[in-house]
Amino acid sequence: MKIAMELQNVHKSIGKKPIIKGLNFSIKQGEVFGFLGPNGAGKTTTIRMMVGLMKITSGDIKINGLSIKKDYKEAIRHIGAIVENPEMYPYLSGWKNLKHYARMIPGITDDRIREVISLVGLEKAINEKVGRYSLGMRQRMGIAQALLHRPTVLILDEPTNGLDPAGIREIRSYIRNLAEKEQVSVIVSSHLLSEIELMCDRIGIIKNGELITVEEVRDTDTEEEEVTVRLEVDEEEKAKTVLQETLNLNVQSEQTRLKVNVAKSNVPNLVKELVKEDIAIYEVALERGSLEDKFFELIGENTIA
């Protein structure tokens, strides 16, 4: 698989204070990479270095093999990005905003602008001033300007920030589409696991300027994986005995639910045993363990909404 972006031992210090302490990872072509960490972990600083807004103190970032430090103009051509909020000129119409960015890169025709507008579904509002757009529309404008020059790497900093669930779902499907159909590599940052885990192939967790771990999202979804199951049943004590004695499981009571950790392949069996004992089951809720648990450990429960 081709590498679209590579971070090589990237450091950033501001004054004498180290902000980013040696990041090493790479993003493959056509992959959606989640960049997850609490606020202040260094996500935005890293993204600013990726696009050349901030200088890299030591190390390098390569885009399709081109160094952002040495071949800035060539390297940046392959990147489309939103850094923090998708800020546009509020007094210009959506069309003029896009025209503005189109003029900065040779070879973008009006047809291409129209194509991008229809991709993000802004045809109706394109002649209105951006100042009147909703946050969701501005996010879409942000994506539109980032896609104008057909980049191979798309960087979206907190793209779901301030969007309602419908908007988040929409953005998620754009991003999956871009990665799968156009082979664009997408980097999405967020401080909320729940918002990005459904769109990412891999998630890197960053804290205090260090990469803690990189986890595959989809591949972990195998039969052997241990999952947490929460059960809502009518006869809790009886069910607890069944699970403990017949299946040899460690059962915890959690308010009105029972919680067990079990291999995913064993879940049907578990249900079967309970049914056999004539216990009414109202709910069987599965929770994929590893990533969420890691994230909880790192960030604490409070930050997860």
């Binding site: 696009v51 800035y72 000129y89 040779p106």
Partner: protein, 315 residues
């Protein structure tokens, strides 16, 4: 070079899509019309019409001037007397106030253009930071140096546009209200070598030219402050404050020789022409131009250093 034009177009589009830019043109227009009406109503324009006997009329005027001079020990009319004598000697009939004269007088309105250009120069970088659009502007395949100089060129282009608007509007309004005396009438004035006759067209270019020096210097200064502090209010405040106090400050310290190195001692090049005399005696035209160029390059260099080398961090 290919998308230099695109970048310039972008800046002009951003500038002229804003109401505040158009309001500057409206204010300037109102000032031009206003000054024409004041001239008309306040009777401060010499409305005497000269007939075929203009030589007699001028001789009479001169006698009146001499009387006034004697009465008040006031020699303010000396230049008027000299001019009239020159006309009689050289057989140049006097002309009434017209569009050319009005355009020439409005050279002083270029101070307003300096003011407006300072506002534009102060905002052109700082606003991008304030709106956050600087991030999207810089992540394109254009060097920061190029972005910076297209922005500076745009500011200069704006001021040239405004100057042309001032000249054209003054001439048109002047023509409507005062009429026109031919296509290139001459002007009698007291210069360095006594009374002389100059083409009014040349004089208009010269007067506006003197004002442009100050305009360019203060604009470049505002541009520098704007890139340095990424704050337009500060840039506008400082530049306007210096524009109005600079000359006074120079006069206070004019007795010291080092005063000649101050920017404001050199911005008024008219001190070397006509009846003017330099603020500090040892100054020459060449010296002033050199000092101006040094300041200009320094301001731009500081802007460039600050714009192209510093990180664009969060708010």
């Amino acid at each position: 070079m290919r998308n230099l034009l695109g970048l310039l177009k972008n800046e002009q589009m951003k500038l002229y899509s804003r109401w505040s830019t158009w309001s500057m043109y409206i204010i300037l227009f109102v000032l031009i019309v206003g000054s024409a009406l004041i001239l008309l109503w306040a009777d401060s324009v010499d409305e005497t019409t000269y007939g075929d006997d203009w030589e007699q009329q001028l001789t009479q005027e001169n006698e009146e001037y001499r009387e006034l001079n004697q009465e008040g020990d006031f020699f303010g009319f000396d230049s008027e007397i000299q001019k009239n004598e020159y006309r009689i000697e050289n057989d140049i009939p006097p002309l009434s106030y017209d569009a050319w004269q009005f355009t020439l007088d409005n050279a002083s309105l270029s101070t307003m253009i300096s003011l407006f250009t300072i506002i534009v120069a102060a905002g052109i970088i700082a606003n991008e930071f304030r709106w956050g659009t600087i991030k999207l502007l810089l992540i394109r395949p254009n060097s920061r140096t190029k972005i910076l100089y297209t922005k500076f060129l745009s500011v200069l282009f704006f001021s040239v546009t405004m100057l042309l608007f001032l000249v054209a509007t003054s001439f048109i309004i002047g023509a409507i209200i005062f009429g026109i005396n031919g296509w290139n009438p001459s002007l009698i004035q007291v210069g360095a070598d006594g009374v002389e006759e100059v083409a009014i067209f040349t004089e208009i270019i010269t007067q506006y030219g003197f004002n442009v020096v100050n305009l360019v210097m203060m604009t470049t200064f505002a541009f520098m402050i704007s890139t340095l502090f990424r704050n337009s209010t500060m840039a506008i405040g400082l530049a306007i404050f210096l524009m109005f106090t600079g000359n006074i400050a120079v006069e206070v310290v004019a007795k010291y020789d080092w005063a000649k190195y101050i920017l404001f001692a050199n911005t008024d090049l008219s001190q070397y022409f006509g009846s003017g005399s330099p603020i500090v005696e040892s100054m020459t035209l060449g010296f002033s131009i050199t000092v101006l160029i040094i300041y200009f390059v320094l301001f731009l260099f500081i802007s460039w250093l600050s714009f192209s080398k510093r990180d664009v961090a969060g708010n």
